[in-house]
């Protein structure tokens, strides 16, 4: 664990702070509004609390947006600094995740009817922690294999799909915890499905682009490399999820959620363990 006393480091810490403040503020707003509308209904204190809750909610939104703005600056700064799209290593991938969580959060709520807005703020802060404290931020020049038009789309679609799958996992956990939801939004089980529906095509595209790129760079579209195999394993978990949900989804909705959580576990292994552990040396070792 190491504190980064650099402009890049400060931008990351500022983003984490903004996301965490947004999370706490929105959570307090949520609790305050809940108390005001349920326990202190039609009382003066209740009205005040409700008003306070609305203000805190708005403040949380502003802080979240502010965090996103800093994350964009941070990503742009890194791009300028390294001279190529910063998606080369884990540090840059996590930086990107911390940035795209906000637009995906808005998109999911507005167009897909999926909540989890408060959790997204926390996810944003959590994915930036490794970038801020653990991962090596030393800029690197692109090795010949990474100098391809496929570099950005291959990594970018994976990053997007991972965020969707992370949101799906949150919904799956909510379902297992028996949590209810806003009337305007989908139930956690439906929301899990919708998030996986959004993320799975991107996961598939990432796998196929990677395979096509492997053929161009190394001569084989499938090299049986540990990263490829873990990538395939995570894809297969979601294939299994779709089949299981189609076959038994209504009878065993809780098991659907377990599939979704298992998918995220395998994604974490693919993203972190394969790159950081010496157990899996392979063609993707430069991505650490």
């Amino acid at each position: 664990m190491e504190i980064k006393y650099t402009v890049q480091g400060l931008l990351i810490y500022a983003t984490i702070a903004a996301y965490l403040l947004a999370f706490v503020t929105t959570l307090v707003a949520f609790v305050t509004t809940l108390v005001a509308t349920n326990l202190l209904r039609r009382t003066k204190i209740g009205q005040i609390l409700y008003f306070l809750g609305r203000i805190l909610y708005l403040l949380g939104q502003i802080l979240y947006l502010f965090g996103f703005a800093i994350a964009v600056v941070s990503f742009g700064y890194r791009w300028y600094h390294v001279g190529h799209v910063p998606l080369q290593n884990l540090f840059e991938v996590f930086l990107c995740m911390g940035m795209i969580i906000y637009p995906l959060s808005l998109f999911s709520r507005r167009f897909l009817g999926v909540g989890g807005y408060i959790a997204d703020m926390l996810i944003g802060a959590v994915v930036l922690l490794p970038a801020g404290f653990i991962l090596n931020a030393q800029p690197q020049q692109l090795p010949p294999a990474l100098q391809s038009w496929l570099f950005t789309p291959h990594v970018a679609v994976y990053v997007l799909s991972y965020i969707f799958m992370a949101k799906a996992t949150f919904q799956a956990i909510s379902q297992l915890a028996g949590k209810g939801t806003d009337e305007k939004l989908l139930t956690p089980e439906q929301a899990t499905y919708r998030m996986i529906r959004a993320g799975f095509p991107l996961l598939t595209l990432g796998l196929i682009l990677g395979s096509y790129w492997g053929k161009k760079a190394w001569g084989d579209y499938w090299g049986w490399d540990p990263k490829e195999l873990w990538g395939l394993a995570s894809w297969l978990v979601y294939v299994g999820y779709f089949h299981f949900r189609y076959m038994f989804g209504k009878k065993y909705p809780r098991i659907n959620s377990i599939w979704a959580i298992a998918g995220m576990v395998v994604i974490i292994v693919t993203l972190l363990w394969v790159n950081l552990s010496r157990l899996f040396p392979g063609l993707h070792s430069y991505a650490t």
Binding site: Q141, L142, P143, P144, A145, Q147, S148, R197, A198, F200, P201, T204, L205, I208, S211, Y212, W213, K215, K216, A217, W218, G219, D220, Y221, W222, G223, W224, D225, P226, L229, W230, L232, A233, L236, V237, V239, G240, H243, F244, Y246, M247, V274, L279, F280, P281, G282, L283
Partner: protein, 333 residues
Amino acid sequence: MWVGLALIILLFFLSIYGAFIGAVRAKSFVNRLPLVVYWSAFTLLLITALAVFRRLVRVPSLLLIHLGCVFILAGAMWSSEAGHKLQKRVFGIDKIPIGQMKIYEGYSDNRVILENNEEIKELPFYIGLKDFQIEYYKPAYLYVQTWQDQGWKVPVEIGAEFSLGPEFGTVTILRAFENFKITIEGGNRTAIDDPQPGFNPALEVQLTSPEGEVTTKYVFERFPGHSHSQDKFLLSYHRVISEYISRLRIIEDERIVAEKDIEVNHPLSFSGYHFYQHSYDTEAGQYTVLMVVSNTGLAVVYAGYWMLCLGVFWHLWLRHIVAKRNKKHINGN
């Protein structure tokens, strides 16, 4: 469908097992007989599912997804080493599945060492190497480090003086060599950049202490850590490779029929084979090593990729977007 789900779960565990044993052993593992049976069973099951479940044919996106998987599996089996052997036995098509070629600058060759290193086969044409080149990112760097782990990254700019602070003085890079050699003329040793074949990049570095004492050092890229215990600094020379380039020509019936500079990500395709930049002569930069791969079955795999991708996006994204729009349209009316 139960069997399908079971095969998916089995493939999941096989993938994880493969990841633990490493790429080379995993490749050999998936080509063994039990796994060949597995791949065949999986393909047959998909075809059976298409024949039995009418929904898979009625819904075009599901048809694309499942047919795409059949194409990928069939193409992969067809392009495998076993697939090549089968093609030779049944159709008499004798293609090299995968191998390597070592070609020296100014020479041409058609011999391919097969992947198992046991056999050499010949291509029906020759590949000539006009030139092999390595390009580096600029600037290169000289790393100066004290024994107390204080360090500086000095860009290689000939003649420019770089300050290491009042405590350590300055460093100036006087010369950069591609192929450093020492000649002895009249008892004097002279460092030269030898134009003869060879590869020994080095820097001539002048260190000036705060007291004005000047020392000259040679720093070698290929021999980092070359220093004496009385030296004040550890010096190392680093260049980052940006590209490997092999300038190739294809010779058929003693005529040049094609020319291409191949790089990583930019292979050469000719007469059913792909040629990749694979390795090179690290000692003298005199030869290149190409990987030769047959393109048999590749079009089938790519067709499968397209179908799978289109099917998945159609089924999970487009179908729902269109349905939502239609619903809005109906509500609007």
